[in-house]
Amino acid sequence: MNITTDPWIWTAAILTVMIFSFLYKDNPFYKFGEHLFVGVANGYYIVYYWHNALKPNLFEPLSAGQFIYVVPLLLGLMYFARFIPRISWLVRIPIGFTIGWGAGLSIPAYFQADVLRQLEGTVVTPATFADTANGIWAIIILIGVACTLIYFFFSREHKGLLGHASRLGIIFIMIGFGASFGYTVMARVSLLIGRVQFLLGPWLGLIKQ
């Protein structure tokens, strides 16, 4: 055992233990750790955005005489107008600008990447069967997509063939949820493993890093 003397590792380790103490029950140590985290995170973001976004992208060009930057400054300030009821309507201008820009940019890109390319991926062609396993998976994907879409088709009652397809659709959806849940468990466990590696390694020196 080779416990570190680095004060920052001790700080991180004590805070980790404070947060883990919640697993037993809520307590003042946990509350302290939680509040400290929220405060530090907010402070970090404010300082980071000031030094890396607002200052270089707005205030430095303005102070260098590039007055075109008054336009984004005004648009940004208009967001705060909603706190003054008399001029709260001004907030619509930057929102309209953001939505217009965002929609114009996103809609074609979204259709291309999320709709057309995904549809292409669902289409089964003779070339798909060049590899038999690949062909079988392509058929399963096609059935899965069709049945899942049928499940969300509410214009007709889910009876007969439509009912069977819709039930198959819900099975595909449940398999999807199950896979997502399994991955979420893996992600959360990974975070625990990471913290345990930190406590056993850099802090207590029990394992090699």
Partner: protein, 290 residues
Amino acid sequence: MKWYDRIATIDRRIIYVLLTVLVILPFFVKVSIPQRIMPQTQRLFDFIESIPPREKAVMISFDYTPQTQPECHPMAKALLQHCFGRDIPVIGLSFDPEAPGLAIDVLTRVNHEIDSLAADRDDSLTYGVDYVYLGWKSGRIAAQLDMGEAIAGVYPRDYFGNLIDSLPLMQRVRNYKNIAIVVIIAAADYPIDWIRYPQTRYGVKVGAGLTAVMAPQYYPFVQTGQVSGLLSGMKGAAEYEKLVLEHGYARTPGTAETGMNSQSMIHILIMIFIILGNIGYFFSRRSKKG
């Protein structure tokens, strides 16, 4: 209380203790649970293998946060070892404000590791020649699109304040034409922007290393080829570490590979508890009906 009621209402603190024991145990007791390489991990590895040395660069977008470090840091490390091992230059950048510190940490570690093993100056890494870190930028969609014209237009200076044109690597990497693939190592939905915008407009190849929570969302993009390879959570990181180790780009196993032993044991425990909980629920429901 009946036996089935008891197994359905196990005190959560007992579960936590068992979880903790199983996480710690593999670090002290040699447990070796074999890991099969998933096809999407192999695809990313093969893609990097296919890039000719000293030609196009690999762009890595470090977009993960300290809380997801156990999953993403090993991915970044293994990927860097692979690129540097093959003499492929790396350009790092970030769109998550929490990421630059982690990116600098992993780049510095890998740089020191390679330098300590280097036989001569040619084998060691030089900042500005072998790799560059551009830093963080706000407004990521506009930045990603503008880099298709000129990276220097978006990042006139690197993270350390050097003029981009003064760096030898950036004199030959001007835009996406000189980039073989962009690999996004992220804890949030960052890769989708790279797929929707730079890929759609400039045909940029995209790879991803994601936390396990995010990964399932990207499987459809792997199937269509929009994502050229995917590392899924700690498992993906462990698989890539294994590939990098087997091919001689690393000397020692990585942290994810060690962590996966704990991961596998916990998965078995969770499955046992799910089965026990269901048995308890099934029998208690039957006794209530009876």
